[in-house]
């Protein structure tokens, strides 16, 4: 089935089987391997992407469902060679260790900050409770997301 998906701002027309999961469309068909697969029961969130700006688990969406819609992956965070504040903050606060859950965490965190620019610890933890991390114990992920919020506030002020 032929579909057209706008991925990180670029329109892509591809021919895929209906059963192809969105995560495989992203990784295999389009070659964007920053989105990862960590489980088979929709439990871990490593596959998180934005669908029309909303974070979803791309392993539990069919690629054909994204026809005519916008998908943002971790590769779309970098704009004009400049890191998104969420990316800079994750590095600054040591919010990643192995990096496998990180794309999903950053996208979920970024959308939280759009709705809530200065979240409390609990608000961050609640927002990322669909994303599993094994390495960090979440402490620095929470810090990173809050720091990104502060960085965004400072840049709009300045």
């Amino acid at each position: 089935m032929q579909i057209t998906v706008t991925v990180n701002g670029a329109e892509k027309t591809v021919d895929v089987e209906p059963r192809l999961l969105l995560v495989h469309l992203i990784r295999e068909t389009l070659g964007l391997t920053g989105t990862h697969i960590g489980c088979d029961t929709t439990s871990c969130g490593a596959c998180t992407v934005l669908l029309d700006g909303v974070p979803v688990k791309s392993c539990t969406v069919f690629g054909v469902q994204a026809d005519g819609r916008e998908v943002t992956t971790v590769e779309g965070l970098l704009t004009g060679g400049v890191l998104d504040p969420i990316q800079a903050a994750f590095k600054e606060e040591h919010g990643l260790q192995c990096g496998f859950c990180t794309p999903g965490m950053m996208l979920t965190g970024k959308v939280l900050l759009e709705q809530n620019p200065a979240p409390t610890d609990d608000e961050v933890r609640w927002a990322i409770s669909g994303n599993i991390c094994r390495c960090t114990g979440y402490m620095n992920i929470v810090k990173a997301i809050q720091t990104a919020g502060r960085m965004m506030a400072e840049s709009t002020e300045g």
Binding site: C44, L83, H94, L96, F100, R134, I141
Partner: protein, 783 residues
């Protein structure tokens, strides 16, 4: 290169990580990101039965599916002598089942197809005729006289008993117990769990038919060890095998063993002349790869009535699964479990351990266990908690009274370890101060009167890591000595090649920091290479917190060798004798005339452009390190909980963790390791478990049954540190990766037991689900 004004960001600096640049951009190179031209996809058919004879396998329907290139069975593998392979514990493991299946999820056949979806489709078309046998689901049953023998493939195996192992002195311990005022005992099952890194295991095997070169991308924490094993198993010449371990999405010991999927994919690539990719899914990961723990332990502590420890006795039964595949130093059947005397000056101790086969996946040594130190630490710290309760003593006081005092180090433990250094009282004092212990005890008493159940749990662990000295530490005979190779380029930058393999611990940054401290080249100017066996020195890999103690030491040693050659070059450039040249922070200067100096950058350039007669060009060297001893990180953790008596639900109010891992190379990274370990310790204490029903079905083979806490359940952590350097390590560092997973489960459990002690509760086995807590309260109140 460092200027005079610029500080060298070496040991002690929280340098931001170099590996982050690619990972935050989604440009990591994980195993499933590897794509080669002509690559095929492999899927594995697994047994639904825990124990069954295979009467026949019909692959004709699967082979006929368009897109399927080959279907491989045990029979085909047997023709190439590859149906069985050695394990890291001198046992054998089936690659693809031939006669029987011995655990649910065992590999039975493999499909290689043009895409992953078709490969999965084909699995459904393979017909296997099984004849079920009685499944053995407990090690106790396994050792009963009438239990069916699981390893009928082994000629000399007449039962399901694998090993018996002892440490310590049984007679001296018996005498200690006979003379003791008080004996406290505890029966506990440390449940089976699983490291479950977010990235599962996999490989891309690429055997080039023209050259015979085997390039195998593989999720492995020990690429060189695997290469040698592959050479022996597959009969491929070792120089033609290149194992490349790419970015790893976590390991925690899950990525150490050789898995059948790697062998089948390699064989398939060899036979088909195409690269073959195999990536397991989460269910496969949980049901078949190296699990952790599963020790049934009985422990006893003998004490005087005023709380002096007199003796410790532990007997244990290890559930090893269907194949003995523990990844640990060969000499030690239960790893370093005999550290079980822990932080205490224990005059007598004895450990007796037995291992049994069961119809479950193989493994046991994994998940940040430091070779079974998790099990040992849990045992002693739970016994101490209960001993304090029995004696009516404060658990902190009981510990303090029996801690090995700081002037007793190096300390010879009664089970044969020489603890390098420690100051247990200081760590305990700091932990109690940070948590506000005195105040908390008062609060607890007050709360109890109001009917609220507060609990304070302590754990004072001593870890043992850094395997190890070549006399005692080998795996399959290969000594656990690791290496580092350092080359300085003409422009003063460097490349460091290390034998270990990070899975998120930040080696690209921390090892560069060691070089920076030793030689004065900034860490961002030191490229760290790892994971590719063609380009790195030989080593036994990263697990058991051994990288800093072994490779970190090798890195320091090789840096010093280079620094010494640099001194010769500097003397040549400065036209003085070598003895008149001193070195500090990247500068070689003339003794007494410090303005007369050459930077390491100038010396590096000279190594290629202006070196004395008789000296080889270049500035590089390699060092393999034989540690004189293991290292002994330690700490005290304090956990505060509140238990809802009516529901059994418990919430963590605070976690205070004081760690001492000696010198900290990168404090930020050390803290990250501790955070991660505490979260895993909490997970194990609260909800992680793999169980089996009576038919041997694995309950816990996906993330809806095997529970990983999210950020919402995971508590916050407050960290503290003391620093007691290792006297024998070149930079005084001890390693820290597993300390928190070792030490914290007992702290969480002790906190809940502390909250419920006055109701009569003495033990609840992990995981402490609310249901089990409630049942324990009911049982104690009813008793």
């Amino acid at each position: 290169m460092a200027t005079e004004a610029e500080e060298i960001r070496g040991i002690g600096h929280s340098v931001r990580r170099k590996e982050d640049d690619r990972l935050i951009r989604g440009r990591g190179n994980f195993i499933d990101d590897v794509t080669l031209p002509g690559m095929l996809h492999m899927a594995i058919l697994r047994s639904p039965f825990a124990h069954a004879t295979i009467k026949g396998i019909d692959t004709s329907r699967a082979g006929a599916l368009p897109g399927v290139i080959a279907v491989v069975t045990g029979e085909l593998m047997a023709q190439h002598n590859l149906a069985w392979m050695p394990t890291l514990s001198y046992d054998t493991q089936a690659v693809l089942a031939t006669d029987k299946v011995r655990f649910q999820g065992q590999e039975v056949a493999a499909v290689i197809a043009t895409d992953a979806y078709i490969a999965k489709d084909a699995l459904e078309l393979i017909d296997v005729d099984y004849e079920p046998l009685e499944p053995i689901v407990t090690p106790q049953r396994a050792l009963e006289g009438d239990a069916p023998v699981i390893r009928t493939d082994k000629e000399d195996q007449k039962d399901n008993h694998i090993y018996h192992w002892e440490a310590g002195d049984a007679d001296a311990t018996k005498a200690a117990f006979d003379g003791a005022d008080v004996v406290v005992s505890l029966d506990t099952h440390y449940p089976r769990s699983h490291p479950a890194p977010v990235e599962t295991c996999g490989c891309v095997a690429d055997i080039d038919p023209a050259t015979g070169q085997a390039t195998i991308y593989m999720t492995t924490q020990a690429p060189h060890l695997i290469r040698t094993v592959f050479a022996l198993v597959a009969g491929l010449p070792e120089e033609n095998i290149r194992i490349i371990s790419p970015d790893l999405g976590g390991g925690f010991g899950n990525k150490v063993p050789v898995y059948p999927g790697y062998v089948v994919a390699t064989a398939a690539s060899l036979l088909l002349g195409h690269p073959v990719k195999w990536i397991e899914d989460r269910t496969e990961n949980l049901i078949s790869t190296g699990f952790a723990r599963d020790f049934h332990m009985h422990g006893e502590m003998a004490l005087s009535k005023d709380g002096q420890m007199k003796g410790l006795r532990v007997s244990l039964l290890a559930d090893e699964g269907a194949f003995h595949a523990d990844a640990q130093p060969t000499k030690f059947k239960v790893g370093l479990f005999h550290i079980v005397t822990g932080s205490y000056d224990m005059p007598a101790a004895h450990v007796s351990a037995d291992g049994a086969y069961t119809n479950k996946a193989p493994g046991g040594v994994a998940y940040r266990c430091s070779f079974r130190v998790t099990e040992a630490s849990y045992m002693i710290e739970r016994l101490v908690q209960n001993a304090a309760g029995e004696l009516g003593m404060d658990p902190a006081e009981l510990r303090r009274k029996n801690f090995i005092p700081k002037d007793a180090f190096p300390y010879q433990s009664i089970t044969g370890f020489e603890y390098d250094s420690g100051d247990y009282h200081a760590a305990m004092d700091l932990a109690l101060e940070k948590v506000g212990y005195e105040k908390l005890r008062k609060e607890q008493a007050k709360a109890r009167k109001q009917g609220r159940l507060l609990g304070i749990g302590l754990a004072s662990f001593t870890e043992v890591v850094g395997a190890g000295p070549h006399k005692d530490y080998d795996i399959l005979g290969i000594k656990m000595n690791d290496g580092a190779e350092l080359r300085i380029h003409p422009t003063g930058k460097a490349i460091l090649k290390i034998s270990c393999k990070t899975q998120g611990q930040g080696h690209e940054t921390t090892f560069a920091q060691i070089v920076a401290s030793e030689i004065g080249i900034q860490p961002e100017d030191v490229k760290v290479q790892h994971g590719d066996t063609d380009n790195t020195p030989y080593g036994l890999g990263t697990y058991a917190s051994r990288s800093t103690p072994t490779v970190g030491a090798a890195t320091a040693m090789v840096s010093r060798k280079i620094r010494e050659k640099g001194r010769k070059l500097a003397a040549h450039l400065l036209e003085v004798s070598e003895d008149d040249v001193e070195f500090e922070k990247g500068r070689y200067f003339v003794k007494g005339a410090p303005e007369n100096a050459k930077t390491i950058g100038e010396v590096a350039f000279a190594a290629y452009t202006n070196f004395p007669d008789g000296m080889e060009a270049g500035l590089e060297d390699v060092a393999y390190y034989d540690p004189p001893n293991l290292t002994f990180p330690f700490g005290t953790y304090a956990v505060v909980v509140e238990v809802d008596e009516e529901t059994g639900v418990w919430k963590v109010d605070r976690v205070v963790a004081v760690d001492d891992c000696g010198v900290r190379i990168n404090p930020m990274i050390v803290e990250g390791q501790i955070h991660g370990g505490l979260a895993e310790g909490f997970a194990i204490a609260a909800m992680e478990q793999i169980t089996f029903d009576e038919d041997g079905n694995c309950i816990g083979s996906n993330f809806t049954d095997y529970l990983i806490p999210t950020a919402w359940e995971t508590p916050k952590f407050e960290l503290g540190e003391t620093v007691t350097p290792s006297p024998h390590h070149p930079i005084g560092a001890k390693g820290v990766g597993e300390s928190a997973t070792v030490g914290s489960p007992a702290a969480f459990v002790n906190a809940v037991i502390d909250a419920l002690w006055h109701l009569g509760v003495r033990n609840i086995d992990m995981p402490l689900t609310s249901g089990k807590v409630w049942e324990a309260i009911q049982a104690a109140k009813g008793a």
